[in-house]
């Protein structure tokens, strides 16, 4: 198995996407990350992360369309 975790939400029913993303994030240890793959810019998700996990996550765009968006979401270490 690889070291890169990919969560491709394009196949997930719309109302399950954010729960799946936050469940995945919740299972990460400090310093770990996963790459979110989506078919649009997940800006609303970023706002939800900002609100619910303020200061606890990293967000880095790896690919920004026009067909696929890939964002590395990481869990920051304590302190």
């Amino acid at each position: 198995m690889s070291t890169e975790r990919i969560l491709d939400v394009r196949v997930i029913p719309p109302r399950e996407k954010h729960p799946a993303i936050f469940q995945t994030f919740g299972a990460l240890a400090a310093g770990e990350s996963f790459v979110l793959v989506n078919d649009h810019d997940p800006k609303p998700l970023r706002y939800q992360f900002d609100y619910e996990h303020t200061g606890q996550f990293g967000w880095e765009y790896l690919e920004e369309g026009p067909t696929v968006w890939r964002v590395e979401i990481s869990r920051k270490g304590a302190g």
């Binding site: 198995m1 690889s2 070291t3 890169e4 975790r5 990919i6 969560l7 491709d8 939400v9 394009r10 196949v11 997930i12 029913p13 719309p14 109302r15 399950e16 996407k17 729960p19 799946a20 469940q23 995945t24 299972a27 996963f34 790459v35 793959v37 078919d39 067909t67 696929v68």
Partner: protein, 257 residues
């Protein structure tokens, strides 16, 4: 680019089954993948992609090269019977892709067919259906063959099966096909697809996840989703005034003159 910049391994790759457009040629399938941002293509033996065939066919090496040029990888050739195994083996070997051995009367028969494929210098992957019992899993894991899993989302929740199969198969599981992905996804709420994808991510799964129709009932929905069929639109672009003429005598409504 449909993932053409991705390395061959190390990342989970989302792809399309030719079953989603069984009448499409290879070039159209590749164009669809590019349009939908899908990195891999699963070719079902007998579909109209034109890659394999008893008398003609593009051949595995040429198909793989054409796919690479389009930024897509041919991930597998899917066979549902012994005759198809024999057709697929040389083509798949030339393409550098495995034969997915499905169909037939039993899993034991699939394992036997898998060994027939490997004897022809091709890679064989045995397909587990749906819930796949522990006995089924152990039967395949006792061999040296890889595993594929057909996830039938419409049949029920797949979350529990995902945990069990991923846990038992580990790195031997390299191909997952979701029956009911694509345009059907919106109808699959509560069936565990979110849990499945989350578990795959956390397990570091780096194989393929293939989208395929669950039934021919959704053919029209898939055609739209793949961009193969648009609506009628208003038709102004191809309008032909000669088709409608009101130059003759007009009759008043109610027959009054």
């Amino acid at each position: 680019m449909a993932g053409g910049d991705l390395p061959e391994g190390g990342r989970m790759k989302l792809g399309l089954s030719s079953a989603a457009a069984p009448d499409a040629g290879l070039d159209e399938l590749l164009a669809i993948c590019a349009r939908r941002g899908l990195a891999v293509l699963d070719l079902r033996v007998g579909d109209a992609h034109g890659v394999e065939g008893p008398m003609y066919g593009l051949g595995g090496a040429a198909a793989a090269e054409r796919a690479r040029a389009a930024g897509v990888r041919v991930s597998a050739f899917r066979s549902s019977g012994e005759g198809q195994d024999l057709r697929a083996a040389p083509v798949a070997a030339a393409a550098g892709a495995p034969v997915l051995v499905g169909g037939g009367p039993s899993l034991t028969a699939r394992v036997r067919r898998g060994h027939t494929v490997t004897a022809r210098d091709a890679r064989a992957v045995v397909v587990l259906d749906g819930e796949a019992s522990t006995v089924d899993l152990e039967l395949v894991l006792a061999t040296d063959l890889e595993l594929a899993w057909d996830v039938d989302v419409a049949a029920g929740s797949v979350g529990g099966a995902a945990e069990r199969i991923l846990g038992a198969a580990g790195g031997r599981l390299r191909h997952i096909r979701i029956l009911g992905g694509g345009p059907e996804a919106a109808m699959q709420e509560g069936h565990g697809v979110g849990e499945l994808m989350s578990r795959l991510a956390l397990a570091g799964y780096d194989g393929t996840v293939i989208l395929a129709p669950s039934s021919s009932r959704y053919r029209v929905a898939w055609q739209h989703w793949l961009g193969r069929r648009g609506g009628w639109g208003c038709g102004s672009k191809s309008a032909d005034p000669s088709l409608v003429s009101l130059e003759g005598p007009l009759l008043g409504v109610g027959g009054g003159a």
